[in-house]
């Protein structure tokens, strides 16, 4: 039993992370690429039987167990790690490489965890790894914000898990969001999935990574949350509105955004919204479709991030306002961006069409008209920003191009080409994907009415794009996002509160003629003393002690 542990797909990645931290040069390159490949092999060689059990603190732990969902996500994560590693070969930052492998390993751990405790452990390691990826680019404050957000999500998740274990053991099982414990757990997972009202962390953090680090970031955290949702909250009806809000939010902000990588981050939230809706439906088809869409999403979002990374590396900026006219100097990246964008918009003959069809089919079978029409509309919107706006303004539109100083290296081209080929292959032969996602074989993908429907939708969207091109021109600036809630609102409240208290104090002092400044000084001194507990005078300590005693005695005497 215990030797199954050696087949755990997260093991080579985490060992590799340590090795990469120590090794340098060519050997490091080899380890960096080989360990994700080894993980991919292990994903497929891990038997789908009950995992080994260990006893820890009276809890039964199953560090590794495989099923078809785990295999699907594991494959996607391994592919993303391989592609990301190959793409990142010209990036010679040992810190980022070690962090990325740790991150990828923890993501595999989350997928293959057989119990809630293991799941939580990897969940936290994943947060640490991803924060380190951001830190390794020198973005310490963004990294800190990101880490805090995940600490917050981790807190919710931990408390929820503790409660759930108290009421039914460590086994991973479907929950209903009806008790405090499972609600906390759901909230913790949704924080990682980028659900409102904390969606802003995605677009805040991911673009702060280096040109190569963002590829890793775009793959794991949110999709691991999706995998966990599939396991823990299948068919939780509350997820449908949450997912719809995410999809709409992601689309609107992506349409407005100027920075390519921020746009892609918003797009992640939008696409994850599709998956969340499917999980909310909860039928076997819907769950399988969510998994399939996650798989495909990881591939095309990775491809888009690679294209964006190539542009950023070559020109030093990823801002649409500063780009344009790059198609001639960077044809490969342009092609990658178009393939990725069309796949995101579910263009027939791309992989996105396959998985989105499955989600739509699941919604239709469930007779969920609102979600169906809404997501169809949002698909058209996705075409606007990813299929058209992004390649047009970044690459194709006539403009004096910025000089591309660093051309894509063969390794980067290999990574982009591989991802693009897989997307096109799945699009041309949906059976490739359906074979190992049990449950979506019944979905009609390449039928004439279906293709025509999608083409009309996309052409309609294209007409709108050309008509309203002027409204979609990128501008420098940012859109107020949900992080306003925790970055600006508290300041406003404090300001308002202090203004109010000043007025109250002023009103009071008019009546009792107490010097407001004196009151303020006294209260400030007290706050200072309790907060910083700087240097209390001995008398104060004695006073507090005596007061405490006196209160006890008084109460007792009453």
């Amino acid at each position: 039993m215990a030797e199954t542990l050696l087949l755990a797909p997260w093991l080579p990645l985490i060992v590799g992370s340590l090795l990469v931290a120590v090794l340098r040069g060519r050997v490091q390159d080899i380890v960096f690429v080989a360990t994700p490949a080894l993980a991919l092999i292990l994903v497929w060689s891990l038997p789908q039987t009950a995992g080994p059990d260990f006893n820890w603190l009276g809890l039964t732990l199953t560090p590794v167990v495989s099923d078809s969902t785990a295999r699907l996500f594991g494959t996607a994560f391994a592919l993303a790690a391989i592609g990301g590693a190959i793409f990142a070969l010209p990036q010679r930052s040992s810190a980022e490489r070690a962090a990325a492998l740790l991150y990828a390993g923890a993501a595999q751990g989350v997928i293959f965890a057989g119990d809630l405790v293991t799941l939580f452990l990897f969940w936290e390691v994943m947060a640490i790894g991803s924060a380190l990826v951001i830190f390794s680019n020198g973005a310490s404050r963004a990294g800190l914000r990101y880490a805090l957000m995940h600490a917050f999500g981790g807190v919710l998740f931990f408390a929820g898990i503790a409660a759930s274990i108290g009421s039914g053991g460590t086994a991973i099982r479907p929950f209903a969001a009806d008790s405090i414990g499972s609600l906390l757990m759901l909230a913790g997972i949704l924080v990682n999935a980028g659900a409102p009202p904390v969606s802003a962390w995605v677009a805040d953090a991911y673009p702060r990574a280096s040109w190569s680090g963002a590829v890793f970031l775009s793959a794991f955290t949110t999709k691991a949350a999706i995998a966990v949702l599939i396991r823990l909250f299948p068919g939780e009806a509350a997820l449908i509105p949450v997912g719809l809000i995410m999809a709409v939010y992601g689309m609107i902000y992506a349409l407005l955004e100027n920075d390519i990588r921020r746009m892609l981050s918003y797009s992640i939230v939008g696409q994850v919204g599709f998956m969340v809706v499917a999980i909310g439906i909860g039928t076997p088809l819907a769950l399988a479709a969510a998994g399939a869409h996650a798989f495909v999403h990881i591939l095309y979002k990775g491809l888009l991030m690679m294209a964006a990374g190539t542009v950023l590396r070559a020109t030093g900026t990823a801002r649409l306002t500063a780009l344009g006219g790059l198609a001639r100097s960077m044809p490969f990246a342009t092609c990658a961006m178009i393939v990725g964008g069309l796949s995101l918009s579910a263009m027939p003959l791309t992989a996105g069409f396959v998985s989105k069809s499955a989600i739509m089919q699941a919604l239709a079978d469930d007779h969920d008209a609102v979600a169906w029409f809404a997501l169809t509309a949002i698909s058209a919107g996705s075409m606007l920003y990813a299929g058209l706006r992004l390649p047009w303004f970044a690459m194709l539109r006539p403009s004096t191009p910025r000089p591309a100083t660093l051309q894509a290296t063969p390794a980067m081209k290999l990574a982009m080409g591989g991802a693009g080929l897989i997307l096109l292959a799945i699009g041309a032969a949906p059976g490739l994907l359906m074979r190992f996602v049990p449950g979506i074989e019944s979905v009609a993908v390449l039928t004439s009415d279906h293709i025509l429907f999608q083409l009309q939708l996309l052409v309609g969207a294209s007409i709108c794009f050309v008509l309203f091109l002027r409204l979609l021109v990128p501008h420098a600036g940012t859109t107020v996002d949900t992080d306003w809630l925790w970055r600006c609102l508290p300041q406003l409240l404090v300001k308002a509160g202090s203004a109010l208290s000043r007025q109250v104090l002023a009103a009071l002092s008019l009546k009792s003629r107490v010097d407001t400044r004196k009151i303020q000084a006294i209260s400030e001194a007290w706050v200072q003393r309790t907060m910083h507990a700087g240097n209390w005078r001995t008398g104060d300590i004695a006073l507090v002690a005596t007061a405490l005693l006196g209160i006890c005695l008084l109460i007792a005497a009453m």
């Binding site: 603190l57 880490a147 910083h532 005693l549 006890c552 007792a556």
Partner: protein
């Protein structure tokens, strides 16, 4: 065989006597070179005895030792059960490791002539703490409390910083107030029951006519002990005292002194008064939960704003004591197990952290946060130990801090207080802030002048530091042993048999 059996019989007194005799010897010999080996030897004997006691107690349940052979009504009884044997183990083990660590740190921080006194005082403090933990006599506990306190004042005053004198003086006054409250409470108990032996007091409590005297006694005793264990808001003496004491003394005090006071409080709360007693309309547990939460949040926040690492860690201690008292207040098996586990784990983590800072102090001559910049490059092993300890303070899974917080969270849920579980975890997030601040400075900043000049800590200091840090990791992964001992302690306190 018979000799071993005879030793077994005298274990409780050997635990206390060894450091006391060691202190006397060190003070008599007064040679700088000889004092350290004597101190280590004494601590070793004491630790061995405590270790052996763990087994004896597991076999017998309770070990009672009558000093002078008098019956408990007349004389002093040492009484060891699953609760205090754990405390004895922690105090002796940590003291031993601290003494092993201390030699070079003390040589650097203390004037040559005072070194023997320092070791003597360390041993006296150790004996006092052990005595407090082991005795079954309320007044004898007071005597040991004073012994440990007096030696602690001396230890703090030996610090290099001039502010150490002020800190020691402040602690002297506060500690005396606490001890006075305690002895007044014990006096009231004696008036009501006619005995000082804790077990006998419990027997006679039902016959007491005036509950008011008892409640007054409880109030005096609990507030008195609360001062010693730095329960919020009576904590203000602690940051200065720990901050300015010599490094080795800080390690000893931070990891053991408050823990023994917590033990004493638990003994009185559970063993004597009963945890669910109410003072008027107010329940003791409610008050304790409130104060613990305040400690967890306010002290953690205060730690975030400290500029000196020793003070930062001292504030963190106040917060961590909040977790322990919270576990006591939960008063259910999981919560109490968590509290006692945290006593053990916090002793290890804080010991490792203060040891690492002591090493930095030795090499860089400063414990200001800014002066630690980039120390991770020049003193990597020390920084690793500090990092592990910091992660433990947060409660990161894989460290022992997680295990104890885990039990606390379980205890909160068992008590039907889900919000409390949330508060426990939420306060850990503040710990993320202050530990993160520390780690950021240590690992990510460019080394300053002091850090560049520093070299790795000497092996004699590094090994004990790494030992405690390693135990923090080890008990985070294999928590079977401490969890069993803590669980047994919880069972005994709740009135069951182990």
């Amino acid at each position: 065989m018979s000799f071993l059996a005879a030793i077994d019989q005298h274990l409780p007194v050997i635990v206390v006597l060894a450091p006391l005799l060691g202190a006397v010897l060190v003070a008599l010999v007064r040679v700088e070179i000889a004092s350290w080996p004597i101190a280590v030897l004494a601590a070793l004997i004491s630790a061995a005895a405590a270790f052996r006691l763990v087994f004896v107690v597991e076999q017998l349940g309770v070990v009672s030792y009558r000093l002078g052979g008098f019956a408990p009504e007349l004389g002093i009884e040492y009484r060891v059960d699953a609760v205090n044997v754990l405390i004895l183990l922690v105090v002796t083990a940590v003291s031993l490791v601290t003494l092993l660590y201390a030699r070079q740190s003390v040589a650097a921080e203390i004037d040559g002539g005072r070194v023997p006194w320092f070791y003597a005082m360390m041993l006296v403090a150790m004996a006092g703490l052990l005595g407090m933990a082991i005795t079954g006599d309320a007044f004898n506990a007071f005597v040991f409390l004073e012994i440990s306190s007096l030696s602690t004042y001396t230890l703090i005053a030996l610090g290099r910083d001039r502010r150490a004198l002020v800190a020691a003086y402040q602690y002297l006054i506060v500690g005396t107030i606490g001890a006075t409250f305690y002895v007044i409470g014990v006096g009231l108990l004696y008036l009501a029951t006619g005995t000082l032996n804790l077990a006998l007091i419990v027997e006679r409590l039902p016959d007491v006519v005036s509950p008011r005297a008892l409640i007054a006694a409880e109030a005096f005793i609990l507030v008195g002990i609360a001062l010693k264990l730095a329960l919020f808001p009576l904590h203000a003496w602690l940051p200065n005292a720990y901050g300015y004491a010599p490094s080795a003394a800080t390690v000893l005090l931070a990891s053991t002194a408050t823990k023994v006071a917590v033990y004493l409080m638990a003994r009185f709360l559970f063993g004597v008064f009963g945890i669910h007693v109410e003072i008027g309309p107010v329940s003791v547990t409610g008050v304790l939960i409130l104060l613990s939460l305040a400690a967890m949040f306010v002290a953690s926040l205060a730690a975030v704003f400290q500029r000196d690492v020793k003070r930062l860690l001292a504030f963190s201690s106040v917060a961590q004591i909040g977790y322990i008292t919270l576990g006591l207040a939960l008063a259910n098996p999981a919560g109490l197990t968590g509290a006692f586990l945290h006593i053990v784990n916090h002793a290890l983590m804080k010991g490792a952290a203060f040891m690492a800072i002591g090493a930095v102090l030795l090499r860089c001559g400063s414990s200001r946060l800014d002066d630690l910049a980039g120390i991770g490059r020049t003193m990597p092993a020390t920084a690793v130990a500090l990092t592990i300890a910091g992660l433990g303070l947060i409660g990161v899974p894989g460290t022992s801090g997680f295990v104890s917080k885990w039990y606390l969270v379980l205890g909160a849920f068992d008590d039907g207080k889900g919000w409390l579980a949330f508060m426990i975890v939420a306060s850990s997030v503040i710990a993320v802030l202050y530990v993160g601040r520390l780690l950021e400075v240590v690992w990510f900043r460019e080394p300053g002048k002091a850090a560049l000049a520093a070299s790795e800590a000497p092996l004699s200091m590094l090994l004990p530091t790494l030992l405690l840090a390693g135990l923090t990791i080890f008990f985070g992964i294999d928590a079977e042993m401490p969890a069993r001992l803590a669980g047994a302690a919880a069972t005994v306190l709740l009135g069951g048999h182990p």
